[in-house]
Symmetry: C2
């Protein structure tokens, strides 16, 4: 008998790699936070002496979701300003709220709320870009959550830094140095958008990212207006400008990419750029529907992200996966595009590739980290089960997520957080609500009677 | 002190009518299954001596959702054939499965599964069209669920009837006579589509519907192909043909209506036709996105439906409401259209209007039936609460639905069915899965390794 820390046995296991494989009555053996074997349940019982045996009949075992783009701390602004035109939303509500409240404490409390919500939703890794990235990284470590932490880069002053040079230097010192070789936290650069960063700063960023060997994640071609404004200001579409500055390469992740021409898709393919699709945010802010099928057919890697809770409003990868599959079909006029298996792949392995962590996470493979999720299909809304992949993508609700492991640590059991103090998070959230509500007038149009 | 059966006190009450009203710390008094008063919680405690007092802090109380279009029994085919092109889906899987399995027992068991799922999802009334409507009606009564049961009308034979005359006569005898004045079950006619019914049968239907004073609900302009085929076969678009046959009037409910011209919208407004929007089904079957904002701006009443579980795949009105709001924004290119309050109105009162029951349900008003839902907002994903309407539409998960009443009967308590035997439903569903799976080859493309 071979020892392992944990043996998980489930009715179905979907390893994601190989693609479209569904294994019935399989087991995953975990040791030291890593997957050591994937084998039939019957064999596993004979081969392993396990510290803990987790038996999950009627459950499907999958790799944890990778939320490839969010702004975790913005959970504290969730629902503060919905159904407003984009410009009013930003200028009247979100920016004033950020200027007034963003700080180490807000980022810590908001990120903790986000991490707790994501864990309950089966997400085991998130890529975040927000102010005070050193706090985001520390909060992830304290919560034992996997994170890709992006150093924000902007030309103008915010509560975290005064100018682009300060953003870059603070990022290098506070974030990249400290987490150069951390098991849970990785880092990248996250310039906000082409509109927010000058040519000079993009040049400095490129040098620093090359030196530190870091990826760059940027909001790109999110809205038609962003592109129009860029053309008016610079004579170039944002992608053209980034290309001229030497930033369109395999280290670049383009977030949103709602508006890409065929030619731009092909240039991304040639350069090895990857894309993060945030379908609900794009709908809610009226940006449009990204051309996911065209991008994937051309060969682009497309991950999925929730975006921040001020524009979604939940950090729920199940919902994001489902809507991605549904939207793609309507967009293509073909019900067979973006199958359930492909949507799951985007929410896991392809997301991991967009943040450069696919050697560690995104699939159930020997040697990868034990970032795993067990989902109970014995719910009315998921029955009968003809195809567990279909039920997972098109029917599962968050409450069916029963177990979540991050690097082998059991974070969610029986659908509840077992390492994180949910009551304390709710209490802190309530305190923030009172503070924010008393100072920011929520912008709800036509809502007279309250 | 005045007596009432039940007094429900919640942190927030959204009556839906008046529009956009949110009442803090309100109570609803229920007697004999009806709403007798809506008043401040403090007053309610002084005024009423209640058989049961239900206190729900942090909850929002709303009228039950009205699922204005579904095929309940198709829950038993849920996930049997996803990600297939529409024609293959219908011809290779769904129709063979229906011909082989549809019968009184299947319709009873499938409808029970659907009712249980809908109750847990906060839905207190559904409009169904499927074979064996007399079984659907009886199942609704047995489950104490409110239903609008449509008699299917088709030209061709199915397990229920042999030709259009038989459908109509069976409907009149088995359904309309028996439920002419029932507190829970109402009836209508549900011709499948213009392609499935001849001019003569539409004429017979019109006479019978007039005589019995019944509404007509039909799948109309669901896909571009439906319209093309109709033009090729008859020289007319389906709406034009219905109009020529005298069926475009205030008794008509057009389900889907994905493809309407401006002129068709205006003709619907003039005629008083109402529409049921089924956004997830329309996406999944690649039909497109209905022009909801254009329709509502023109003055049409638009309800929401889940459609059947073979094309959605869940009977979850929360999800339907959310995606309706999100899609409308992207379609209009304006984040301010179809606000949360309007989406909630579509999922309740407007849905009730599309089935002619708005005098009884759809809002929390004195004299209406006590079809009510309590939703707990003290979940991480719904916190903080700046605006309960926003949180309800953009963040709530089905597990937050804690109490559901149908005509004053407490059907869901603490998020669980208390009148219906869930275990028995799951057992019957499992038996159907085995039967269906052994005889219908699930049509999953490119899924080799199982």
């Amino acid at each position: 008998m071979q020892h392992c820390d944990t043996l998980i046995l489930a009715s179905w296991c979907i390893p994601v790699e190989p693609h479209e494989l569904v294994l019935a009555n399989y087991a995953v053996a975990i040791n030291d936070g890593q997957i050591v074997e994937l084998l039939p349940a019957a064999d596993a019982r004979n081969r392993y002496s396990a510290g803990a045996i987790i038996e999950r009949p009627d459950h499907v075992l999958i790799p944890g979701f990778v939320n490839a783009h969010t702004h975790g701390a913005m959970t504290l602004f969730r629902g503060l300003a919905d159904d407003l035109p984009l410009e009013r939303w930003l200028k009247e509500i979100i920016w004033p709220a950020e200027n007034r409240f963003v700080g180490p404490e807000m980022v810590r409390d908001g990120t903790r709320l986000a991490i707790a919500e994501m864990l309950l939703g089966g997400c085991t890794c998130f890529s975040d870009q927000y102010f005070f990235p050193e706090i985001i990284a520390q909060t992830a470590v304290d919560s034992h959550m996997r994170a890709m932490v992006g150093t924000p880069v902007l030309e103008f002053a915010t509560p975290w830094a005064g100018n682009a040079t300060e953003y870059l230097n603070k990022g290098a010192d506070l974030v990249h140095d400290r987490y150069a070789d951390h098991s849970l936290v990785s880092t990248c650069f996250a310039p906000h958008s082409t509109a927010a960063v000058s040519d000079k700063s993009f040049g400095d960023l490129r040098v620093m990212a090359d030196q530190l060997d870091k990826r760059i994640q940027i909001h790109l071609h999110e809205s038609a207006k962003e592109i129009e404004d860029a053309v008016a200001a610079t004579g170039m579409r944002p992608i053209d400008r980034l290309e001229a500055l030497g930033l369109v390469n395999a280290s670049l992740t383009a977030v949103h990419a709602v508006h890409l021409t065929d030619d731009e898709i092909n240039r991304f393919v040639d350069a090895g750029v990857s894309v993060v699709h945030c379908p609900r945010s794009n709908l809610k802010l009226a940006d449009g529907i990204a051309r996911v099928t065209a991008m994937r057919d051309a060969g682009l890697i497309v991950g999925l992200g929730t975006d921040g809770a001020a524009s979604n409003n939940v950090l729920d990868m199940l919902g994001e996966m489902r809507i991605a599959a549904l939207l793609a079909k309507a967009q293509a006029g073909d019900a067979s595009v973006l199958s359930a298996a492909n949507a799951l792949r985007m929410a896991t392995l392809e997301g991991a590739r967009t943040i450069g962590l696919d050697d560690q996470i995104g699939s159930i493979e020997v040697g990868k980290s034990a970032d795993l999720v067990c989902i109970d299909l014995m719910y009315l809304n998921s029955q009968p089960v003809y195809d567990p992949v279909s039920q997972l993508v098109y029917t599962v609700q968050p409450q069916q997520i029963k177990d979540v492991w991050v690097a082998g640590r059991h974070q969610v059991e029986a659908g509840a957080l077992v390492q994180i103090d949910q009551a304390e998070i709710l209490e802190r959230t309530s305190e923030w609500r009172q503070k924010i509500n008393s100072q920011i007038k929520p912008g709800r149009p036509n809502r007279e009677n309250r």
